[in-house]
Symmetry: C2
Subunit: 359 residues, 2 copies
């Protein structure tokens, strides 16, 4: 029932992939434990330096002999002037004061220009360290990068939020595609379609994608248990990628305030915001999101806004203050549990068998 | 596999409910054909007078001896001044000119005040005509109305877009609840939560509702075929309600331009708009929606805006001009087909059996 081209290709027992959540969530322990439990652990390397990337890969190799993967952020062009950075930073100053941080007048634009270099160096690390699986968010890498990774037999997984984006992933040579529904927490992987156009629920999105690509589809967004896994398979996906469900696990590196916020939230408390990073992302409504709402359309693009809010998010975390942290969550927080990775996966498989016998 | 408390209670063969689309879509032929094919046909009586309601019920009784149902719009309070109506009508005058309609300066507010009377008279008709199943959109009727319908053994089905709304439906005495995901076309059934809060995808929404109510849940939004039916059942729903899939059927009364627009659309072409009726609804992007976008937050509430745009929608339809018609559609237009109701339902059941043997 759960063995298919994805489990065969990725050499895993169950078609359950832990979403590569960046920003410290995917500790080596989390990634290794997912792989040790029969799923696929994934490093969220989006914010790591090449050196940190290599260190974490090596650490995980000590903790599991099963396959694991890594996710890289594909760098995007962005347009911003010094004065835009300055005024966006000024908007944040009252919040800085509240958190006892010093005011900031902006950044040199050059601060944001090393993304391509970092990405290329990360790709080198992935190849040198022989990570068997590499996924991408925010776009499709260049032909050269894809060719090089494929030459080293690394399995490539793209991310799409619409049929068109899935087709582009297939055309580029991706081996599989993660299809992210509007339910998903954290950053939208959208890279062609607009903000509104790409908000399609999985019930609609998966069958429409499956009808239009021949590579295996992995369903992502709001999936927390066997019900979502089995539903995804009925819709035509071959596996699932789960973020929020792993974020509240004991092994995840998410801040305890973040975990608690999810464990106490309802399905109607998340929303999409650009306020933290300049890219649309789904999180639990808090003071920061509500305060920034009126500036939303004027905020600079990723990665500028992300860098601008860094001190605020850091201070808010250090103060255990959820008001200014990015509390990423999908639309199913009522289904989140504080549990071990092993028990999450074991329960899912047991429940999946029950559903299978029942329907 | 598909027999459960819903099929037993509603006395139907398959847990497939045709969504009660108002505005001429649910012809007697469509409703009867769905019921004759083993599903549950539903009259969308939201815009019908009590006399028209009775006529259609009688007509359908001639066409099927199987159970069918009816949906009523629960009237909502609205606040609007003469001058707001006037300025909202003026915004529409350039469009009226384009369609060769005479300008309108507004309406007497009293025009909008007969909704409660109409609703109560419709309830009487439902009882007198012994329609076995009655569903509600836009809220929960009064205790008195619910008690009276129940006294006549009419099965009551509520509509919810969040867990809280589903719980309120259960508390009120509804026998079942349709849970409408963000994928759904046409009007949002939201009546407690706000616009953004109630946009939850079915993959997230169904399991969270199922965990919190004990009445059977019917899944609605973007479901077009056996994949959506089986996925809904995996998520914990007992059946599905499908709108767009029946709208493009041969028997539906939707305008041919509307059917064509759906058959040619992609998943990223629908959006939520208040422009046609004053209530949020999902339809295919057209000139009217885009033109009205900047006025969106200022438009008067339902039913005022709905009445104001009536002449425009009517003229646009008469001229086969899709620019100013409400092209309601869920997020799965790529899965829409021009087919008979019988073949839609037969194929669904055959495919559902295949999925069942496969997973």
């Amino acid at each position: 029932m759960l063995n298919n081209e994805i489990t065969e290709r990725l050499k895993i027992e169950y078609p359950i992939i832990q979403a590569p959540m960046a920003g410290g969530v995917t500790t080596s322990k989390l990634v290794a434990e997912v792989s040790n439990s029969g799923g696929l652990g994934m490093i969220g390397a989006g914010y790591l330096t090449p050196i940190q990337t290599r260190e974490q890969i090596r650490e995980i190799k000590q903790l599991t002999s099963n396959p694991f993967g890594i996710n890289l952020f594909v760098p995007n062009e962005f347009n911003v002037t010094e004065s835009e950075v300055k005024s966006a930073s000024e908007v944040l100053n009252p919040i800085r004061e509240q958190l006892n941080l010093s005011r900031k007048d902006g950044f040199e634009i050059s601060t944001f220009n090393n993304a391509y270099e970092t990405f290329n160096d990360q790709v080198k690390v992935v190849i040198e360290e022989k990570v068997p699986i590499c996924s991408f968010t925010f776009g499709i890498p260049s032909k050269e990068v894809i060719a090089e990774l494929k030459q080293h037999n690394i399995i490539l997984i793209g991310t799409a939020t619409t049929v068109r984006e899935a087709i582009e992933n297939e055309k580029s040579g991706m081996d599989m595609v993660v299809v992210q529904g509007s339910e998903a927490g954290g950053h939208r992987g959208t890279f062609i379609d607009g903000y509104q156009e790409s908000q399609v629920g999985l019930m609609s999105l998966i069958p429409q994608v499956v009808d239009n690509v021949s590579i295996p589809v992995i369903s992502a967004g709001g999936i927390m248990d066997a019900r979502g896994l089995m539903a995804s398979i009925c819709l035509g996906a071959k596996g699932v990628q789960m973020g929020t469900a792993f974020l509240t696990c004991v092994e995840s590196g998410a801040h305890k305030v973040h975990k608690e916020a999810i464990l106490n939230a309802n399905e109607d408390q998340t929303l999409l915001t650009r306020s933290f990073s300049g890219k649309w992302a789904r999180g639990i409504k808090n003071k920061f999101i509500l305060k920034m709402k009126k500036h939303e359309d004027l905020l600079p693009d990723y990665p500028v806004q992300n860098t601008l809010t860094q001190d605020i998010r850091k201070a808010s975390s250090a103060q255990n203050n959820q008001d200014f942290m990015s509390l990423w969550s999908g639309q199913s927080p009522r289904l989140a549990k504080s549990q071990t990775v092993e028990s999450l996966i074991k329960n899912m498989i047991a429940e999946a068998k029950k559903i299978n016998s029942y329907i």
